[in-house]
């Protein structure tokens, strides 16, 4: 069976939810000093690893610039995060077709193969999206669940 279009669909659904959270984050929540991990940093961290684990090969590409959430005054802007999110969406479209899903991966240690790494990565996006959705529940914003690619329930 062809797993790759399903992986792409589920990646894009998870990313669509992360995008909703980023787009609807009010300015006061973006870099709130009261948060242990600030909103922008959680979004950035999620995208950085999504990008890293979406590569068809484990090595041979440049990693993104790292920014530490503990450095005040240096947050990525919402526009910068949305640009990175679009790059990850592009990775989903371009890298998954090139990937050997049965190949071993050294990316996180003990995972079985590239296929398991992709499910792990989708879960990682969804975990942090859940955290950000919960954080936004303190604000009057409406967020939806996306079941699959291009499908959102409000």
């Amino acid at each position: 069976m062809n797993i790759k279009p399903i992986l792409q669909s589920q990646y894009l659904a998870a990313l669509a939810m992360l995008k909703q959270a980023v787009v609807k984050c009010p300015p006061e929540a973006w870099d709130n000093p009261q948060d242990k991990d600030r909103f922008w940093f959680v979004a950035y961290h999620t995208l950085r690893f999504a990008h890293q684990y979406l590569k068809a090969k484990d090595k041979g590409y440049a990693r993104w610039e790292q920014r530490r959430h503990s450095n005040p005054g240096e947050p990525f802007s919402k526009e910068e995060i949305l640009e990175k999110l679009a790059l990850v969406e592009q990775d989903v479209v371009e890298q998954i077709p090139l990937m050997d899903l049965d190949e071993k991966t050294g990316a996180t240690g003990a995972l079985a193969n590239k296929l398991e790494l992709q499910l792990y990565n989708i879960r990682h996006i969804q975990q942090h999206t859940g955290e950000l959705y919960q954080r936004l529940s303190a604000y009057p914003v409406k967020l939806g669940w996306a079941s699959k690619r291009h499908e959102e329930k409000k």
């Binding site: 995972l111 499910l119 669940w145 699959k148």
Partner: protein
């Protein structure tokens, strides 16, 4: 590791994180009247859909023996939800080998195949686990663990 073992490993990892949230939930957060979607109700809802979407179809679904209306006034206890979660872990082990992943989902509101339904279900667990982890941050619980894979499934390789 084959596809079904990978699915089991990732289901069980997501459920382990949900379990981590439930076990660490302080008593005052379990049924907090200020929560729109109470902790216990969200945890139960998540396990309920794990159980449901592991069946062939809605008509094949037999509710858990202790099920009652989660919208009612009687919260499930932490032990009950943990018991249901253990039941759902067993369902993952028993049901995944039997599912034809290429068949239609069996649930008319999800026009996808069984494989995509399992991925949706895993994402659904993780979404709510993330929400519950974040809500526990308000109680100083900021070091709940990330579970990457399931060791038992891995050892079957």
């Amino acid at each position: 590791m084959n596809l079904k073992q990978v699915i089991q490993s990732q289901y069980l990892s997501a459920l382990a994180m949900l379990k981590e949230a439930i076990e660490n939930c302080p008593p005052q957060a379990w049924d907090d009247p200020s929560d729109t979607f109470k902790f216990w109700s969200k945890a139960y809802h998540t396990v309920y859909f794990v159980h449901l979407y592991l069946q062939d179809s809605k008509k094949d679904f037999v509710e858990w023996e202790k099920h009652h209306d989660p919208d009612g006034d009687i919260p499930f206890t932490k032990d009950e939800v943990l018991e249901y979660l253990a039941f759902s872990e067993k369902q993952v082990i028993e049901r995944i080998p039997l599912i034809n992943l290429e068949a239609e989902s069996g649930f008319q509101w999800y026009p996808v195949d069984k494989l995509e339904l399992q991925f949706i279900n895993i994402r659904h667990i993780q979404q709510h686990a993330g929400e519950l982890y974040e809500s526990l941050g308000a109680y100083g619980l900021t070091k709940l663990r990330w579970v990457g894979y399931n060791k038992t499934i891995k050892e079957q390789e």
